[in-house]
């Protein structure tokens, strides 16, 4: 399997070209047609989630939220490679991966409408809470993976973060621990080229993000993040390696955020139209659809059915989320400790 030499963008691992052609059949991972249609379905669902959420936010029904449009292959490819027992440590832009791994969409809507009850992840979903402070989830994931190793559980751990997160001490200390203790960690950097307005080149002088793995004594791979098969394969290999006791991997998904950083952001202030146009031509959803159509496993009517279906599902989730009764003020005291302290009980009584 071709891996990125350090440093060399041209060596980026790819399977599908932007026209949906397979570059080298030998590289193609084992996926049934059904798998492929499922992956496509999640990608389309995630984009619909963004679209509907964006409108809700504009109507004041959601808070600020971070759309992932453009990064669907990077999230779906990697999350689809996870086994049932694997664990996911998300960031604030990981909706596609979270939904794929079983996070109910209505909870996500509830959370992004400003209600912490939306982060009560169901017990059977192997997933940690969303980290808002950039990069801070990386040591958590490293520690969790290390804990799996100590407990001799064959579990792989995936953590998501952005290109800018690599500038934080948390990235450094977390990955260094993972390296030293050979934790079964797969660290996925979705390099979408920007931290809000700050371009990747201002974030770090290293040519690739992948090469930063050299500092921690394990492998780094740069992969075309808009190529769902390449992302799937690289992640699957890294997870197998992790579960087999061979330590962590850093994966750089080279991708692009097609939309705004969040609903509060205006990307036209800081990036040229041509750049966005260039990336639109590399849209991960289009690419996979082209592949499926060429392969004869996808038709126009499949597409129409899917689009209708995801719209219904997302709207149902919105309805469900909005039907939930408002949280009670006392709720803010109920999960501070296992048992509210006397001080908190007193403060709670001031609510009345």
């Amino acid at each position: 399997m071709p891996r990125t030499k350090v440093p060399a963008k041209s060596d980026m691992f790819q399977i599908l070209d932007p026209e949906g052609n397979v570059l080298d059949k030998k590289l193609m991972p084992k996926l049934t047609d059904d798998d492929i249609r499922k992956m496509y379905g999640y990608m389309v669902l995630a984009r619909k989630w963004d679209e509907i959420a964006w409108n809700l936010q504009r109507e004041g029904r959601l808070l600020t939220f971070a759309p992932l449009t453009g990064q669907e292959a990077s999230q779906v490819g990697s999350a689809y490679a996870m086994e049932k027992d694997d664990w996911l440590f998300p960031m604030y832009r990981s909706n596609a991966a979270m939904i794929l791994r079983g996070m109910p969409m209505d909870l996500l809507f509830q959370y992004w409408s400003g209600d912490e009850r939306g982060l009560k992840i169901p017990d059977d979903v192997n997933m940690f809470t969303i980290a808002i402070p950039v990069g801070t989830q990386i040591p958590h994931a490293a520690g969790f993976a290390w804990g799996m190793k100590i407990q001799k559980k064959k579990v792989g751990v995936v953590v998501y973060f952005g290109d800018a997160a690599t500038s934080k001490g948390d990235f450094h200390e977390g990955l260094n621990f993972a390296g030293v203790f050979k934790a079964p960690l797969v660290a996925i950097c979705e390099n979408n080229q920007y931290a809000i307005s700050v371009p990747r080149s201002r974030q770090t002088a290293s040519e690739t993000i992948a090469q930063k793995a050299a500092a921690y004594g394990f492998e780094g791979v740069q992969v075309d993040g808009n190529d769902v098969f390449a992302v799937y394969k690289v992640t699957k290999d890294a997870l197998d390696k992790a579960r087999n006791g061979n330590g962590p991997t850093l994966i750089e998904c080279f991708t692009y955020r097609l939309g705004a950083h969040t609903t509060s952001d205006d990307p036209t202030k800081y990036r040229p139209v041509e750049e966005v146009e260039y990336w639109k031509k590399r849209d991960p959803i289009d690419r996979l659809r082209k592949f499926m159509v060429k392969k004869g496993i996808w038709s126009d009517s499949d597409e129409q059915k899917l689009l209708a279906n995801v719209e219904v599902r997302v709207n149902d989730a919105v309805k469900k989320a909005e039907a939930v009764e408002a949280p009670k003020p006392e709720d803010m005291f109920n999960y501070v400790y296992e048992k509210a302290t006397e001080q908190l009980r007193q403060q709670m009584s001031e609510l009345k």
Partner: protein
């Protein structure tokens, strides 16, 4: 000139930078993008990439390199994007920012400002509505300033930039665009360490930052029922102890309104000081109206958490009726 706080801060930065080329701004998204609250809008265009500098996303790095920049002769004004992202910089602030003058016996000092949007009330995500005053006011060797109005903001920021000691400048984001007031076009300074008092006789109400607006509204609501003296502290460190003590000696009663969690909030320090210096004048226990000792709730419950006008009015009533 009627300005809101964002505009007042922007103007202060611009005017100081025009006068003193050693002043540089650094932070996340403060350049081309003009800052997530648009506080630095237009400054990158005016002063260029070497003076209005987008940094990597690394708050420790922003403050840590600002220390070095200040020692090298620059006057860095660092922006942290939100209150909730100041903790990664706390080690550099605690271990170094407040200590370098002392450690070097005056050979080195840090003429630098760390500014950030502060506090709740804008329906934001987790970690975007925090109050950091306790962590910062406990540190020796730094100054901590909190403007409550556009006017405060301009005059205090100019003082902060010119101060030979490191100044933390907390900008109540709830006030950013909520108040417009007359702000002099020309430069002016407000001394750090001087509170602003609106006189009254019956009870002293002390606040800072966004809570000043809440207190003013409570004062309106109370009308002529009681004569309320309000103190806008403006700086927490150094504190205008005299203004506080003088007022409480006069009124004998005090209410303190604090946005952050109760335990070890700045109100506790004020109560301790009043206890020490005006004990015999006190006619009622000092009352504090504060946030609760819980993680700042998300927007659906935020209004139950923040001190409200009604809570302040009730506290004044309680203290008066004691």
């Amino acid at each position: 000139m009627k300005l809101n706080m964002v505009q007042a801060i922007n103007l202060a930065l611009k005017q100081e930078m025009e006068k003193d080329s050693s002043i540089i701004l650094l932070g996340e998204d403060i350049g081309k993008n003009g800052g997530v609250f648009r506080v630095t809008e237009g400054l990158w265009q005016q002063f260029g990439d070497e003076r209005v500098i987008d940094t990597p996303l690394a708050e420790l790095g922003i403050v840590g390199t600002s220390i070095g920049l200040a020692i090298s002769g620059m006057k860095p004004v660092a922006e942290i994007q939100f209150d909730g992202f100041t903790p990664p910089a706390l080690d550099q602030i605690i271990s170094h920012v407040g200590r370098i003058r002392n450690r070097s016996r005056g050979r080195f000092h840090l003429q630098m400002v760390i500014r950030f949007p502060s506090g709740g009330g804008i329906r934001a995500l987790e970690h975007h509505s925090e109050i950091m005053d306790t962590y910062l006011c406990h540190i020796a060797g730094i100054k901590v300033v909190v403007p409550a109005t556009p006017n405060d903001a301009k005059g205090l920021l100019i003082s902060a930039i010119r101060d030979k000691d490191p100044v933390i400048f907390m900008e109540p984001k709830k006030v950013y665009r909520a108040i417009k007031e007359e702000v002099p076009e020309e430069e002016y300074t407000i001394p750090i360490g001087e509170a602003k008092v609106r006189e009254g006789d019956d009870v002293t109400v002390i606040a800072w930052g966004a809570m000043v607006k809440t207190v003013n509204e409570a004062r309106e609501k109370i009308g002529d029922k009681y004569s309320v003296e309000t103190i806008n502290l403006r700086s927490l460190k150094p504190l205008d102890t005299n203004a506080v003590v003088k007022s409480v000696k006069k009124t004998g009663r005090a209410v303190i309104v604090q946005e952050g969690p109760r335990t070890l909030g700045f109100a506790a320090e004020l109560i301790a000081l009043i206890n020490e210096k005006a004990f015999l004048s006190l006619e009622a226990p000092i009352k504090r109206v504060t946030g609760f000792d819980v993680p700042t709730p998300l927007p659906k419950l935020e209004n139950y958490y923040l001190p409200s006008v009604d809570k302040v009015v009730n506290a004044i009533e309680d203290v008066m009726r004691f």
